[in-house]
């Protein structure tokens, strides 16, 4: 099984890295960044799906908390009600996990191939030979240059480790939901700090090439996240308002929509029902698809949306 994994995805990624570096002036640092961008672009639809599903799940949290409180002593009923809520809101709890699970092997293969190409010891370098394709370009390009910017890609680098932690913190901050529940808030805070610290620590124990990949991946992730969900928690921490790019709008939506049935309307963009397709789609300030007409927002709300779009002057690309 491990042999198959190494001979398949890892070898493909590894040879792509080496071949790509041939066209990027032999700079392995540049190659890591470019390949990360390419893979991120290829997986963009999955990432967007995951981000939207995560956001939708976050927005359902108050309702779920309510249910948990209500059916604290009846676990079976709680599960039934939760499933009902998910069904009504048109989303699946697996919506967040499945895209992430699909992406995981690709990231692991990239991660492993970077470490293998950065073979430091003679044993590792000798082992590298068995993964190489018979492309002349691969054989003539190796070994790759290890220096990039101020650091050696083979050795751990403190400034780069700090950069890993900082970019991860920013990305985490963007996805951290606003909550009034103190337990959830402390949980979010813990995650916000723990992940960057862990990855910063790992970056100090792995070759810098890997840290560079994490930094590139975080930055690209932030860009994608900005276009999908806005600044998120980062905007909230700056302005103190509970929303991202379309924050003011959402705040007002929240005021208008108070009944559970509205959740169905809000999150209908996660799983498109046939009726959605039949009735046509509108686009929100964040670029999200929204139902127009039956089951959509009230007229007054649509007016708010139009106003918000005009006042922000944002123009969003439609898919």
């Amino acid at each position: 099984m491990l042999e198959l994994w190494n001979a398949g995805p890892v070898a493909l990624m590894l040879n792509s890295l080496v071949a790509l570096s041939h066209y990027l002036f032999g700079s392995f640092g540049l190659t890591i960044i470019v390949l990360t961008i390419i893979i991120r672009s290829v997986m963009y639809p999955l990432t967007v799906k995951q981000l939207r599903a995560t956001r939708a799940m976050q927005e359902l949290q108050p309702k779920i908390a309510e249910l948990q409180k209500k059916y604290a002593k009846d676990k079976q009923r709680l599960a039934q009600e939760q499933m009902k809520l998910y069904k009504e809101s048109g989303m699946s709890p697996a919506g967040c996990a499945v895209p992430m699970l699909i992406q995981m092997p690709i990231w692991i293969a990239l991660f492993q191939s970077i470490i293998r190409v950065l073979a430091v010891t003679p044993e590792a370098f000798l082992g590298l030979s068995k993964y190489l394709y018979s492309w002349p370009i691969v054989y003539s390009t190796l070994p790759l240059g290890n220096n990039f910017l101020w650091f050696n890609l083979v050795n751990p680098d403190m400034p780069l480790a700090i950069l890993v932690g900082a970019t991860m913190w920013l990305q985490q901050k963007m996805v951290t939901p606003v909550t009034t529940d103190p337990q959830q808030r402390s949980q979010s805070q813990m995650m916000l700090w723990m992940m960057p610290l862990m990855f910063g620590f790992l970056a100090l124990n792995f070759p810098s090439g890997l840290a560079l990949y994490w930094v590139a991946s975080n930055v690209i992730g932030m860009v994608i996240q900005y276009f999908v969900t806005g600044w998120g928690g980062l905007a909230r921490s700056r302005a103190g308002i509970p929303a991202g790019r379309d924050g003011a709008l959402k705040q007002r939506i929240a005021q208008v929509e108070q009944s559970p049935s509205r959740i169905t309307a809000m999150e209908a963009d996660i799983v498109e029902s046939p009726s959605t397709q039949e009735e046509g789609l509108g686009y929100g300030a964040s670029g999200d698809k929204r139902q127009v007409g039956r089951g959509g927002y009230p007229t007054s709300l649509r007016a708010i949306r139009r106003q918000s779009r005009r006042s922000k002057g944002h123009r969003h690309k439609r898919r």
């Binding site: 470490i115 000798l126 068995k130 190489l132 002349p136 054989y139 337990q183 949980q187 862990m198 790992l202």
Partner: protein, 375 residues
Amino acid sequence: MWIKHNRRLLGKVLLLLAILLIGGVTVSGCVGRSPPKGWSGAIIADDTLFLASVEGKLVALNTSDGSRLWEVSLGTSEVAIYGTPVVEGDLVYVGGYNGRVYAISSSTGDKRRVYPLDDNLEPIVGGMVASQGKVYFGCSDGKVYALDAAEVYKEWEFQTGDKIWSTPAIDGETIYIGSFDKKLYALDAIDGSKKWEFDEAKGAIASTPLVYENTVYIGSFDRYLYAVDATNGSLRWRSEVEAGSWYWAKPVAYNNVIYAPNLDGKVYILDAMSGYEVGDAVDLGSPISSWPVVVDGKVIIASQEGKVYSLDTSNNQVGLLANVGDGGEKIYAPLCAGDEVVYIHTQTSKHDTLYEVNAKTGVKRELWSSSLSSK
């Protein structure tokens, strides 16, 4: 009180921490971020065999009965040794991955000299050669060094374009060495001046050159073997056949035929004059990184998986001579030819062993073994 209140949260945090740690360790373990271990070959001088162990010790053995004469730790901590030691006068020289050259008394095992004294060079991976009172080696800093053999000070150095893992070859007053910069260099052994450089290989060079009949034979990562005029560095031929992987091991020559092992597991049999194949490549089924030797008209070759083969040069037929890899032992180190026997240094993650294999009968004898405690 706080713990009771946040018990669920603590549980989740601990679970996440465990996942991250296990994931990190698993992923790093899968890709083999292990420390360097070394794979030194053996050398025989006056019935004494010298070998650098994977534990970083230099060991002297009596070849007749295998008794241990002495052993000495090279550094205060374990030093990985990849290059085969060399003997010049009454000193044994060995270069370490820690970037230091050690000169040890061949009779007592006393540490006599270290180069450099206060500092370390970049890792030394290739072996050393000695001639006329000098010791030569290449270093990962891309330099070729010549040291005075008696006092162990630097006589000259020559800078190449990339790191050097190749062992130099010496012929008369010329040093030949390959570099990762894809070039083969010929240097004056006296003053280190460049005589010529050969730059027609398309891949890096980690293998050691073979000098035979005024021709230098060198294999490259571009999967070709090159024959270069030893006098002026001009290309005589490039092997007609493209191998399946890198040339790592030094080839051997016998009766105007070159036997060139490759990491694709094959031994290519080429005419020394033309580079044409004079026999079908012999497939041993496992990468070959160990240097072969010629004993009584037979080429003895070891594959990484621990099998030792004998290739009859009269008909190019190959047969299994011995299997020293029963216990998972791997062979990376160059073979060492003795009187009708071959010495083979094997290693596993737990121990390294020196075998003596009779080149005719294949009978093997374990001469020495060391268990690895800390690596």
